[in-house]
Symmetry: C2
Amino acid sequence: MNIGFIGLGLMGRPMAINIARGNHTLHIWARRAASLEPFAQFGAHAHVSAAEVAKHADIVFTCVADTPDVEAVCLGAGGIVESGKRGLVVSDSSTIAPAAARRIGAKLKEHGMAFLDAPVSGGEVGAINATLSFMVGGEETAFEKAKPFYELMGKSVTLVGASGAGQVTKACNQTVVAMTMLAVAEALTFAKKSGVDGAKVREALLGGFANSKILDHHGKKMLERNWKPGFKAWMQQKDLRIVLQSAHDLGLAMPGAAVASQLFNAMVGSGMGEEDNMAVIKLIENLAGIKE
Amino acid sequence: MNIGFIGLGLMGRPMAINIARGNHTLHIWARRAASLEPFAQFGAHAHVSAAEVAKHADIVFTCVADTPDVEAVCLGAGGIVESGKRGLVVSDSSTIAPAAARRIGAKLKEHGMAFLDAPVSGGEVGAINATLSFMVGGEETAFEKAKPFYELMGKSVTLVGASGAGQVTKACNQTVVAMTMLAVAEALTFAKKSGVDGAKVREALLGGFANSKILDHHGKKMLERNWKPGFKAWMQQKDLRIVLQSAHDLGLAMPGAAVASQLFNAMVGSGMGEEDNMAVIKLIENLAGIKE
């Protein structure tokens, strides 16, 4: 089977490498030519456009940034739609609005191609270690074709429902992740401001209902003052924009997600956009007069 | 060693039973005489006041509701302070403000008694199954005396720091629990309003960074529409009042905890105070026009 991979950034690059390591030959394209170079060692075929990748592939994985990027790669000039064969499966792991995913899927279907919205959770570390979670929306036959490759890139793979359901799940995921991140940030700052050892608080909380992956993994890094991304604040801001735009369209009040999104806006506004999203604790500390 | 137990409500009763089952004879008192009756089968000695319990005990556990209750039991007329011997250890598992715990501890110390603030997480189920988490503040020698009994009532026991540190930890715990609860409620409602199966969303999210005890345990119950408490909404409201009052005193902004507290206010206001705090999802659903 011929595999295409489009978008070789922070997430896409390690994901594509994990497919290549599974003894598959890749057809690749990325906006920045420099992103293609590391794949020479894997015998990958570099192409000049998404359309050229699609021409050579039975399945194409995409991992770009935002809705306009996915639309350009799939439906734009030099995009997949121009040359993908009937029966081509397109799996997109970008995080975009559920409504946009459904629209792109419907358009590709008109051309005989199947679209899977397959966003991931787990960040760069998960991409590198092949421990990502895939949340997938689309038709089962297409999903079964893509599944062996998801399993090369991740450890948890769920077909949640029809087209768009993967992005709905990702929006739910980001809601929970962002609010839990803020919760841990507020709690650890409460401890610090009260003169209590945050490491011991974290340890005690891990033993009860407050236990979460965020408290375990990110809580530890917050205490170590390790802001290396991970998952950058500007991407969390973008994902929460998608959540709240969707909530607006659905007529759904999300008071917690709304507050969290304001703090990620503030992170970007105060020059912390390139830091990991867990650095939100520094905002809470600053507001409490705690200096680094 | 003679053990006292004061406060035999939703939490205190199963906790005291777990000590009694460890082959200890209890000296007990509760505001409601009816609460004393189930302990006859364990050969417990029922007394007419907290002071009488303290007179017969080397260590006294208390589990009442709010700050005034703890103050009354420890320092009021007919309270522990009136008759506790020097060296008596008083361990309180109520959830109260850290500042109040420190104040009560200091007062008892003037009378030669040691006070441990030892609030718990895990709810009624944890109390019954002896799987509570104990977060303890106080002196190490007192903690070592109480520890074997905590281990009869719970599975996670942490001495976090000096007097008040247990309540600080509990405030951190409730902050994380309340915000995670709201996060899961918003996420599952987002899924429902988008026409996506919440059970599959939960399953997918458990595989990634959104994983938490709340998503696992309470998320499942939300999907089953099982509102049996557990931990009642009015108690969560009370605990968040303590968190935000403490944040006020510390000069600490807790935007996420503040929003969560408003929703638990609304639960109590709309007649849901006696339901489990996870029923907060019904508020979010109602606002989105989803009928039960």
